[in-house]
Amino acid sequence: MAPYIEFRDVSKVYRQGETKATALKEVSLIVEQGEFCAIVGPSGAGKTTILNILGGIDRRSSGTVTVDGEEITRYNERRLASYRRNSVGFVFQFYNLIPNLTALENVELAAEVCKRPASPRAMLDAVELSHRMNSFPSQLSGGEQQRVAIARALVKNPKLLLCDEPTGALDEATGIQILSLLQKTSEDSGMTVVLITHNNDITELAQKVITVRNGQIDSLVKNLSPRKAEDLAT
């Protein structure tokens, strides 16, 4: 069986005038379906680039990326957008909620465009925010906002959930809360989760830990006994 996600010799070169900056150098990696996968590495190593290419919001310079048997690197803009709306859920470090929309509306924003959305209310319920669903982002705490963001990502029932330092802007307790939510989702629905983090503790939660350094895969470690997020608090 082919791997769910496969990067094969993916390079990314940023061109700025005369100078070239290589972000990724012939990266190859594999993520299995339903895996909870963490990408770690120092700043500027190329973690986000990998995530962006995987999420279809950035393009590689060479190489192929296959997701669920589809070679997304061959997609045009529109198919990429379609891929994003139906297959991928994103969670950002800074939540990226629309300030002018209520929590519920922010979730609806995603539900609106995808094929098989879950109920936005149910989704907010799942992230335990049904009591705040008519609040505006500015009226919510950071954790609440991130939970709204996760609800927005999950409402689409994506096959793939991509999180870019989802706890980066949160205090530890809230961070664990969020991680626990993500882990639970992955386990419950068999959703593949790829998560970028600086926090080594988090790697202990992952089934697979990919370490990136200088645009190359430094190591790819399978964690056969990942810990539960709730246990991190201790």
Binding site: N52, A81, R85, Q93, N96, P99, N100, L109, A110
Partner: protein, 1077 residues
């Protein structure tokens, strides 16, 4: 400003050029429209003036109905202040080219410019400007109107519709076109009216002056010394012309007097010589008559003596006859005597013969006896015989004797008789001769008689012919005398000739040109300020956005110790840096492009070389500074609150603008029904009120302007149709040769009996009220003979709602005055006693009067009268005061001298032309004003406005575009993260665009709706400024115009949406990952 601040400012500019450029564009547009359009009118007028100066257009043209003499020309040239005079000819001629018969103004060229050369004449007054061919060289050649369909080589032939006196003026009946040209005398398409043919002059033909054979000129062109170099449409020019008018009029009167005297003198001389002729004719006639008389009496004498001689002859003859008769009688007596003699003689002879016989018998008896004796023996017997013998012998003897005597006697008598016979014969001969003589005399006499008779009858004839002759002579002389008398009378009645002064402003199209130029100015008056307001709003939102973006920067700067003033000056830099160049560019472009553009369109067919730009100073200054000042003030207020916050507050990241609930959210049912997209859009709409106001104001304004400018075309374009389709229902108005006090049985009426016609009286009028006056506008006191029939020719109604007005005006309502004081009642009673009139709407606006107000009306040469307005009537051309004939009589004590005939006939243009030509030719009418002439005027105004309108449309589109661009631009930059997030979520291009565009579209639609409504009001206002003089426009806006305005706005938005798509496409979803600044 310190260096670092400058650097920051520069970077700011470089980073977001769009918003600054759009600001600059708005300011520039406002400045351009303001400076450009305001400069258009003076430039157009100046350029036209320059052209007219170059072509040396006459300041005045002088006409004289009895012709202009060389002495007149000399006298005029000698007038003080007269620079140049050019006598010439001008006559309207009907001519045929191919199958087309048209009326042309036939004008003369001074001989010196008829050189056959192919360049414009450089001498003379009102010089031509050749557009094709060459100048004429000889008689029979002409230069044709550049606007006419004639081409070089065409031949026009004068036809039978011409007034013979006009044809007498020219030596040719055919003209060959050798060139085409324009004349400064006609600056528009209008060529004026004619008294022949169709009644319309269709163009002009210039011929060498030598083509005219008349002793008298018909026109003089005149240049004044004081107007040299003075622009034609300037107040100064008008002043000079007006000042000169009185002296020219005095000159005309003086020349008229001179001419009158000359003519009297000339006629008097003729009369005198005629009188002399009559005298000599009379004496000659007398002499001839006397001769005739003498001859007659000689003849009479002759006849007299002839008669005497004749009488004598007759008496002689009678004497001779008498004598002849005497001799005849004598002859007869002689004859009788002779006959008797002869009878006697014959009887004697017979007796003799008897006697002889008896003798013979006796002798034979005797012989027998003798014989018997001889043989007888018986003596007895013998004896007896003897005895018997014896008895016989004496007897025989006696008888013998007797016979001898008788024979003798007879012989004598015979001789006698024969002598007498001869005598008788000679007598007879004499008698015959005398008779012949008498006959001869008789013949002579009778011939002399007949001769006499002839002489007599000749005399009689002579006598009667003498009578006739003398009678004839007398009547002839009497007739001459009568002629002479009437000639003498005519001399005493010879009036002065009528001179006519025609200033430039009275040339066809002149005042219209000025009005049209002014209309362009008026139309542009409201727009620039509007632009400034929009610019201010755009600036407000832009600056507010910028200050918000740069909160922390301002805070940092403050923390670093920059003063508020320094920081403020950095922000003040933008309005000035955008506003001033915008103003400069706008004014420069506006002034350089717009007037020229309008001019080139206005006179697209007009060979006016060059263009004189006259920038309107004040609008230029306002244009230069206005925009900058407005946005600087706005910027100050936008920055103020941020500038004066403390640094620490500013350094903290500004809380993102919180979402807020929309009013509708509180109405749950509605809110849920709106749908997600709708809810998002609504929220975004309400988020920034300034932008909402800016966008809606901008779009509303531009749509209103679009509606207005299209509506302007509609209103101008529909004038003719409404005026002649709904208000006036007649096809033509004929001017009678002589006014008539009633329409009773006239020749014209019989000719027009197939159609409906009405007699009307129109008199020039100066109406005034409220200290305002209609002077300068064509205003008529109008009376239609039949107050009932008038409704078939004119619809009396109000413009708004078309409520019919009563005509004849109803009597004033009887008001019951109870509470009001006696004073009011008596004042009202005064008003009630005044005649009531319906006035036209334009007049009511000019005078500022309404129903129940009193208008003072002054007809030329008549005392002023007061009238009460009983109704204000929809009417677009000329100003009218309608009253009934009865009121006219009451006012002026006479029946109106009807001089206009309104004709209502279902005729085609060509049929109407034919009828007009016939009426003009048979002299039943003097002038025709077919309705189509107004249409021409309106067409011209429309044509001129059309270009301005399209320019305005373009400007409005730019305005819409810029305003919407600004909104879209702001929304995009501000929501970059949101949009990136949407992209990450998987929104398609279309959906992302929709997220931004939907609210823009809604604002645009709101603006559109408001603009369509607002346009009606703006249109009403603008039309008020375009009504000029005697022309009012309708307030009609066709549905198409609303649709066009909407269409253009929607198109602009669509264009903008398309234009902004790449911008949206370029938004990188990766942006969403970046941290909040």
């Amino acid at each position: 400003m310190s260096r670092s601040l400058r650097k920051m400012t520069r970077r700011q500019l470089a980073r977001t050029p769009g918003r600054f450029v759009s600001l600059m564009v708005l300011v520039a547009l406002g400045a351009a429209v303001l400076a450009g359009f305001q400069s258009a009118a003076p430039s157009m007028l100046q350029t036209m003036s320059g052209y007219l100066e170059d072509r040396n257009l006459s300041d005045y043209r002088l006409f004289c109905d009895m012709g202009i003499t060389a002495a007149d020309v000399e006298a005029l040239a000698a007038q003080p202040g007269v620079l140049e005079v050019e006598p010439g000819y001008a006559v309207n001629i009907s001519a045929r080219h191919n199958e087309e018969v048209l009326v042309y103004a036939l004008l003369s060229l001074p001989d010196e410019v008829c050189n056959g050369e192919a360049h414009d004449p450089q001498t003379g007054i009102s010089r031509l400007k050749l557009t094709a061919g060459r100048m004429p060289l000889a008689q029979g050649e002409c230069v044709a109107d550049a606007d006419s369909a004639l081409v070089v080589g065409d031949v026009v032939t004068f036809n039978g519709e011409n007034d013979p006196t006009s044809l007498d003026l020219v030596s040719q009946t055919m003209l060959t076109v050798v060139g085409k040209a324009r004349t400064p005398l006609y600056i528009s398409n209008t060529r004026g009216s004619a008294t022949i043919g169709s009644g319309r002059v269709s163009g002009f033909l210039y011929v060498p002056a030598s083509t005219f054979t008349s002793d008298y000129y018909t026109v003089i062109g005149l240049r004044l010394a004081d107007t040299a170099g003075v622009p034609s449409f300037s107040d100064e020019y008008t002043g000079v012309i007006d000042r000169k008018y009185a002296s020219l009029e005095a000159f005309c009167q003086q020349r008229a007097k001179v001419r009158q005297n000359e003519m009297r003198q000339a006629v008097n001389e003729q009369v005198d010589s005629a009188a002399g002729e009559i005298d000599s004719a009379r004496s000659e006639a007398d002499k001839e008559l006397a001769d005739a008389r003498e001859k007659l009496s000689a003849a009479q004498d002759e006849i007299h003596s002839g008669e005497e001689a004749y009488q004598k002859g007759v008496s002689d003859l009678e004497q001779a006859k008498r004598e002849l008769d005497e001799s005849e009688r004598e002859l007869k007596a002689a004859k009788k005597a002779l006959d008797d003699g002869w009878a006697t003689y014959d009887a004697g002879n017979k007796q003799l013969a008897g006697a002889k016989q008896a003798l013979g018998q006796l002798e034979s008896q005797r012989d027998a006896l003798i014989a018997a004796m001889t043989g007888e023996t018986n003596p007895a017997v013998l004896a007896q015989i003897q005895a018997q013998l014896e008895a016989l012998v004496p007897q025989i003897g006696g008888l013998q004797q007797q016979i001898v005597a008788s024979e003798r006697e007879l012989l004598a008598s015979r001789g006698q008789l024969e002598q007498k016979d001869a005598e008788y014969a000679s007598g007879m001969e004499k008698y015959r001769k005398a008779a012949e003589e008498i006959d001869e005399n008789e013949r002579k006499l009778s011939s002399s008689r007949s001769e006499l008779d002839r002489s007599k009858s000749a005399l009689e004839q002579g006598e009667s012919s003498y009578q006739n002759q003398s009678e004839e002579a007398n009547t002839a002389i009497e007739a001459l005398q009568a002629d002479l008398d009437s000639a003498r009378k005519v001399v005493s009645e010879i009036g002065p000739p009528t001179w006519l002064l025609q200033a430039r402003s009275e040339l066809p199209g002149f005042s219209d040109f000025k009005s049209n130029a002014e209309r362009i100015t008026m139309l542009s008056l409201v727009i620039p300020y509007f632009f400034f307001v929009i610019a201010a709003l755009v600036c407000l939102t832009t600056m507010a956005r910028m200050v918000e973006e740069q909160r922390s920067q301002i805070g940092t700067l403050k923390a670093l110790g920059f003063t508020e003033d320094a920081i403020g000056s950095m922000y003040q830099f933008f309005p000035w840096a955008m506003g001033l160049p915008g103003g400069v560019i706008g004014v420069a472009l506006g002034v350089l492009v717009i007037p020229r553009l309008i001019w080139s369109m206005y006179v697209s067919n007009y060979p006016v070389n060059g263009f004189e730009l006259v920038p309107a100073v004040i609008p230029c200054i306002i244009g230069l500074l206005g925009g900058a000042v407005v946005i600087a003030v706005v910027t100050y207020f936008a920055c103020r609150s941020s500038l004066y916050s403390s640094a620490s507050v500013l350094m903290r990241p500004g809380s993102p603008r919180a979402g807020s609930r929309v009013f509708l959210e509180r109405v749950g049912i509605v809110w849920r029904r709106i749908g997600f997209k709708g809810r998002v859009t609504l929220r975004n709409l309400i988020r920034y009120k300034k932008r909402l106001v800016m966008t809606i104001t901008g779009v509303t304004g531009s749509v209103a302007l679009l509606v207005t400018v299209f509506g302007v075309l509609d209103s101008i374009g529909s004038v003719a149709q409404v005026q002649f389709g709904e208000i006036a229902h007649y096809e033509a108005a004929f001017t009678l040769r002589e006014p008539s006090s009633s329409s009773a049985d006239t020749e014209l009426n019989r000719r027009l009996s197939d159609y409906e016609s009405a007699y009307a009286f129109a008199s020039g009028l100066e109406a005034s009220a409220n200290g305002r006056s209609s002077a300068g506008f064509i205003t008529y006191l109008y009376v239609v003979e039949d107050s009932e029939a008038i409704k078939g020719f004119l619809t009396f109604r109000e413009r708004n709602g078309h409520a019919p007005l009563e005509f004849p005006p109803p009597p004033p309502p009887k008001l019951v005055m109870e509470a009001d004081g006696a004073q009011g009642a008596s004042a009202d009673a005064d008003i009630d006693s005044l005649p009531r009139a319906v006035i036209s709407e334009r007049l009511s606006r000019v005078l500022g009067v309404g129903v129940g107000d009193v208008v003072h009306c002054e007809r030329t040469g008549q005392p002023a009268k007061d009238l009460v307005v009983s109704g204000v009537m929809e009417n677009y051309l000329y100003n009218f005061v309608f009253i009934t004939p009865e009121d006219f009589y009451a006012l002026y004590g006479e029946d109106p001298p009807y001089a206009t005939v309104l004709l209502k006939a279902d005729l085609t243009d060509s049929e109407l032309d034919a009828l007009t030509a016939e009426l003009l030719k048979t002299k039943m009418i003097a002038l025709s004003q077919p309705v189509s002439m107004l249409e021409t005027l309106v067409d011209e105004v429309t044509e001129n406005m059309l270009y301005v309108v399209w320019f305005m449309v373009a400007v409005c589109c730019v305005l819409t575009f810029v305003v919407l661009y600004n909104l879209v631009n702001l929304n995009i930059t501000e929501r970059m993260r949101e949009l990136a997030t949407l992209k990450v979520i998987g929104y398609y291009q279309r959906e992302v665009a929709g997220y931004i565009y939907r609210e823009v579209a809604i604002l645009m639609l709101i603006g559109l709706a408001l603009g369509l409504v607002g346009g009606v009001f703006l249109h009403e206002f603008v039309m008020g400024t375009l009504d000029m003089g005697e022309l009012m426009f309708t307030r009609v806006i066709r549905p198409q115009s609303f649709m066009l305005a909407a269409l253009f706005t929607v198109l602009c938005s669509a264009l903008l949406f398309v234009a902004m798509l790449p911008r949206l496409r370029r938004i990188d979803p990766v942006t969403s990952l970046k941290s909040v600044e």
